[in-house]
């Protein structure tokens, strides 16, 4: 377990020493969410209608920005090699990297979303649903993204391939995440949507570190 926290701590410290990466993703999310109300105009009903979709797509793209570098730096400097040779399970160490990625690129979005939601005149309940939905949904983005990042590691033009590979897999999280807010606003209640999101997060948490670790070993073979 100490190895797990050591990896989390290393990734967090590295991100704090080089803040641009974290700030870029967060700033991207803020700008995207702020541009839409300006472009669409002040029609409140329209804004409320499009808000969940826009905020979710923004979060999804923002969390993808830093995915390409999730394993690339470790692969380039040999840290990944040492992790693969550790007697600790590589899946556990990969899970630590995914947790660090979520703390750096998912959690800030969750905390910002209610503030940005105000621009779309979302009600208090809708803002809560949005935040809880993102809290359950952004880990799914990091978990699925890690599989894609591991599969495209060391591939030339991997970043484009990564988005082609990963974006379709994000669709269920997007549908149920944005759907939860819409359901809440239409008075249906978001419990069902949020439960499905939670279930998806659990399934991804079980399989993603294991699958990512297997594809990282393949990348290290060459």
């Amino acid at each position: 377990m100490s190895a797990f926290w050591a990896v989390v701590q290393r990734d967090l410290v590295l991100a704090m020493r080089r803040k641009t990466e974290v700030i870029t993703a967060v700033f991207f999310f803020v700008v995207v969410a702020a541009l839409f109300p300006l472009g669409i105009g002040p029609e409140i009903n329209t804004l409320r209608l499009v808000a969940p979709g826009i905020l979710w797509v923004g979060a999804l793209l923002a969390s993808m920005l830093s995915l390409g570098r999730l394993f690339a730096a470790d692969f380039a400097d040999g840290t990944l090699e040492q992790m693969a040779l550790s007697p600790n399970s590589l899946s556990v160490l990969v899970a630590a990297k995914i947790l660090a990625h979520w703390l750096l690129s998912g959690l800030p979005l969750v905390l910002l979303a209610p503030v940005l939601g105000l621009q779309f005149d979302l009600t208090e309940e809708a803002l809560w649903t949005l935040t809880i939905g993102l809290l359950l949904g952004t880990p799914i983005l990091s978990l699925i993204g890690a599989v894609g990042a591991a599969l495209t590691l060391g591939v030339r033009g991997g970043d484009v391939l990564l988005s082609l590979l990963i974006l379709p897999l994000y669709v269920p999280a997007l549908i149920f995440g944005a759907g939860a807010v819409q359901a809440q606003m239409s008075g249906l209640g978001a419990a069902a949507h949020l439960s499905i999101l939670a279930a998806m997060a659990l399934v991804a948490a079980v399989f993603s570190p294991w699958v990512s670790a297997a594809s990282l070993r393949i990348a290290l073979e060459s």
Binding site: V13, R18, D77, T79, E81, Q82, M83, A84, L85, N88
Partner: protein, 204 residues
């Protein structure tokens, strides 16, 4: 002990090496020689379990390293061409994380002592990016002093080191060999180490 039997490896249609066999007992060290591009690094990576054996088998303590990788990795220390150091972290932070990831004792005292012994006293807290190439290599090699792994696999460990550092490294390796450790090393320079020396020449 490490036993390698009838190992071969191809890259594409090109056969890099075939039928490599040797064994290494406690206190012995093996100097792996060969021309550039003959596959020394590939062989070392294969022996660490980073590659897949097409033919042949590697066993550690009579267990295949493919079937029992955890036992083997706990006993192995591999240092390749890549130093596995983060430029933005200090040598101390780098080696502490590294030790914890490798399941070793990463206490501050132990890491500081190792860095001091490799001649990096006073530089423990500087970011690695400001260190010279040789100092970076010394930092990476300080792992040898933190590890208690019986099997060391080192790829060109003497490259870019000045003569005091080379002597320090030889001393560390000799202590390891006297302590019934094992060493597999590549180097283009002649090596003089204690313990029983073996050599294997890799040919295409």
């Amino acid at each position: 002990m490490l036993t390698v039997s009838h190992l071969s490896l191809s890259r594409g249609h090109r056969r890099l090496f075939s039928d490599v066999s040797f064994s290494l007992m406690p206190g012995q060290w093996l100097h792996l020689e060969g021309d550039n591009g003959v596959g020394k690094t590939s062989l070392l990576r294969l022996l660490c379990g980073l590659g897949v054996c097409e033919q042949g088998e590697v066993t550690w303590k009579n267990q295949s390293i493919v079937q029992e990788p955890e036992n083997f990795r706990a006993d192995l220390l591999y240092l390749g061409h890549q130093l596995a150091l983060k430029e933005d972290l200090s040598p101390l932070e780098n080696l502490r994380t590294d030790a914890l990831v490798a399941g070793r004792d990463g206490s501050v005292d132990r890491v500081m002592a190792a860095l001091g012994q490799m001649g990096l006293r006073g530089r423990e807290h500087l970011p690695v990016r400001v260190l010279s190439q040789g100092q970076k290599r010394r930092t990476a090699l300080a792992r040898l002093l933190i590890s208690r792994a019986p099997l060391w696999i080192l790829d060109e460990p003497f490259v870019a080191l000045d003569s005091p550092a080379q002597n320090a490294l030889s001393g560390v390796i000799n202590a390891h060999l006297n302590d019934a450790g094992m060493l597999l090393v590549t180097s283009h320079q002649p090596l003089s180490l204690q313990g029983q020396a073996l050599s294997y020449r890799l040919t295409a």
